[in-house]
């Protein structure tokens, strides 16, 4: 499996993600989500946002992470391409994310929200996996 792959339900789309560790899982999920919004690869890392989040489980932290990225994207129209995780431990994350302010760029798909529906994070041997459904 690639770092992420999409699956479809009748109305919405979801994503299966994997990473060699929890940090890579969160980065790959962020990349996968933005690739679903727009598959062009030439956005620049010129705008920077620092993020700090806490949760009570990996699932909750994962939901908050993707929801936070979606908030910055939708409120300030920044398409993020670079995700540096400064710290991640149960269950908090600090990261610097960088992207480009969308002006006349063509965006392909709107993600309304990250859902909690059947959201799960598992660790099998040395691989972390997550499954998440988006509301489109």
């Amino acid at each position: 499996m690639k770092d992420y792959k999409y699956f479809s339900t009748t109305a919405d789309m979801g994503m299966e993600v994997k990473g060699k560790d929890i940090s890579q899982l969160f980065i790959n999920a962020a990349r996968g989500m933005f690739n679903l919004i727009c598959s062009h690869k030439d956005f620049k890392a010129e705008e920077e946002v620092k993020i700090g989040l806490q949760g009570e489980s990996w699932e909750e932290l994962f939901f908050k992470w993707l929801s936070e990225l979606l908030f910055y994207y939708d409120a300030y129209k920044i398409y993020f391409v670079d995700f540096q995780i400064l710290k991640i431990r149960p269950f908090e994350i600090e990261a610097i994310i960088k992207g480009e302010k969308i002006k006349d760029r063509k965006i392909e798909r709107e993600i309304k929200a990250v859902t909690y529906h059947n959201l799960e994070i598992t660790q099998k041997n040395d691989t972390w996996e997550a499954k998440v459904l988006f509301d489109l």
């Binding site: 999409y6 479809s8 339900t9 009748t10 109305a11 919405d12 789309m13 919004i37 009570e56 699932e59 909750e60 939901f63 908050k64 929801s67 908030f71 994207y73 939708d74 409120a75 300030y76 129209k77 969308i102 063509k106 965006i107 392909e108 798909r109 709107e110 309304k112 929200a113 990250v114 859902t115 909690y116 529906h117 059947n118 959201l119 459904l133 509301d135 489109l136």
Partner: protein, 481 residues
């Protein structure tokens, strides 16, 4: 799960409570055999079952004929919980709070605009902010935005977008009391600040249609509808503001599950007792999003009127452009219903379902009190949409609810594959339908084949007697996000 359904009649199926000890009530699916066999996924029935486990749920976990797999509650799901002892669940409403639809009737006939479709599609596309991540022509400060959240469509009318008459033709007069903007996060306000007066993308649309079939001439006359009359339909919701409020409260409700010891099979159904700080805060914030959506549709309707008047070089008085009705299809509302012969106050959650109150209901505006609430059912952009009215059977069977649309039958991925090598826009143009969209991908994902034939859904609703058919409209101009 399908094999566990028991037929009650041709349009009603029981999911017995006995199939799972966690179910507090049975499930009831209003659907024809054909729809059940061809379109209802097993996972959607699992979601009906899961909703039946919610604390305080009354009578049954219901699904309308456009049921399909969603998240938490299925799309087309209706549940009611006791206002004193039950819960409220953001997952029972959905992310696009008060996504809804409005229908206008004009003084025009098909022959009046047959050669003006191009002018109209251009004028609307230019005047109505559409598309993925679209921002509008309005920029609100947080303080202005809070006024919108508190007042809804009333705010829009006060600012000159439409008239008071429009409010009388809007569910809850376009404004829910008790909306408290202080329960809305900074993030939600930030997302909402630039999106008021935008259509959005996906299945949101603006259509010019004509009436191609009348089923009830008496009712049609009351709505000023006759064959070939031009109508306009607008479908959109509360945009990023509503999505953020739902996201914020999903987190709050996740914590509430632990606090109130509520165990559920799906976290997307996370909930809190209505009589808890979490429950009350969500209801206040949800009302804010509902009000924002009503203001949004009111503003978009105003700009639609302006664009059409300008394109046809005529006045609003000449063209009519009168609002028939506007209703929500993702909302939770406090309503009175009779359960086992007793009056009960309930929190009716409708997720992809329309309120369909019967003749005589006190919440209906006086002009519709004798005929029942207009129920507007949009279809896909190639076939047709319907106008129906609510019935007394809806009140006894479905907490006064009906379906909300055709419902998808193909996933977006399958739709894009099906559309490969085809121009859906050209195919529709050959059928006399002009489509304008920000992105080709949206047109492919939203192609007519991606949806059920809405007439099958409407036949099931009419067969179950939970709404009565009035008229059918066909699209001729479509603006997609």
């Amino acid at each position: 799960m399908k094999e566990k359904l028991r037929k009650i009649n041709n349009y009603k199926w029981l999911l017995p409570k006995e199939i799972d000890s966690r179910m507090r009530v049975p499930g009831i699916i209003f659907v024809s055999k054909e729809l059940l066999d061809r379109t209802v996924e097993d996972e959607a029935l699992v979601q009906v079952r899961n909703a039946a486990m919610l604390p305080g749920i009354v009578k049954a976990s219901l699904a309308m004929p456009d049921i399909h797999y969603g998240y938490g509650l299925p799309i087309g799901g209706v549940i009611a919980t006791d206002w004193e002892t039950g819960i409220v669940s953001p997952g029972g409403v959905g992310f696009d709070i008060n996504c809804g639809v409005r229908l206008l009737v004009t003084n025009l006939y098909l022959k009046d605009i047959m050669d003006k479709k191009k002018i109209l599609v251009d004028a609307l596309y230019q005047h109505i902010p559409t598309g993925v991540g679209s921002t509008g022509k309005l920029r609100l400060t947080h303080s202005q935005e809070k006024e919108v959240l508190a007042k809804g469509a009333k705010w829009a009318v006060e600012k000159g977008y439409g008239t008071k008459k429009d409010l009388e033709a809007t569910e809850s007069y376009g404004s829910l009391e008790g909306a408290n903007p202080e329960k809305v996060s900074y993030k939600a306000l930030e997302r909402g600040a630039q999106q008021l007066g935008t259509l959005g993308s996906g299945n949101h649309f603006l259509e010019i249609q004509y009436v191609d079939e009348i089923y009830d001439y008496r009712l049609a006359k009351i709505f000023n509808l006759e064959k070939n009359k031009i109508t306009i339909m607008i479908h959109t919701g509360s945009r990023g503001l509503g999505h953020q409020i739902a996201t914020d409260y999903l987190e709050v409700m996740g914590r509430a599950l632990r606090k109130y010891n509520i165990v559920l099979p799906d976290k997307q159904l996370a909930c809190a007792p209505i009589n808890s700080p979490e429950g009350q805060d969500y209801i206040s914030a949800m009302k804010c999003a509902a009000n924002y959506a009503w203001a949004n549709r009111q503003i978009l309707m105003h700009w639609t009127r302006e664009a059409i008047c300008r394109a046809l070089k005529a006045s609003e008085r000449d063209l009519g452009l009168e609002l028939i009705y506007d209703h929500a299809h993702n909302i939770v509302k406090k309503e009175e219903h009779i359960i086992d012969g007793k009056k009960r106050i309930l929190a009716v959650h409708r997720k992809g379902a329309t309120r369909a109150f019967p003749p005589g209901h006190p919440e209906l505006p006086s002009k519709y009190r004798s005929i029942g609430q207009p129920v507007i059912i949009p279809g896909d952009m190639g076939r047709y949409s319907y106008l129906l009215v609510g019935t007394k059977e809806a009140m006894t069977e479905t907490f006064g609810s009906s379906c909300h649309g055709a419902g998808r039958v193909l996933s977006r991925h399958k739709a894009i594959n099906r559309a490969r090598g085809r121009s859906i826009t050209q195919e529709l143009e050959k059928e006399g339908i002009l489509v304008r969209a920000a992105d080709k991908k949206t047109v492919k994902e939203e192609m007519p084949e991606a949806y059920k034939d809405v007439s099958m859904v409407v036949e099931a609703i009419a067969g179950a007697k939970i709404s009565k058919k009035v008229a059918r409209m066909k699209p001729i101009v479509v603006i997609k996000g």
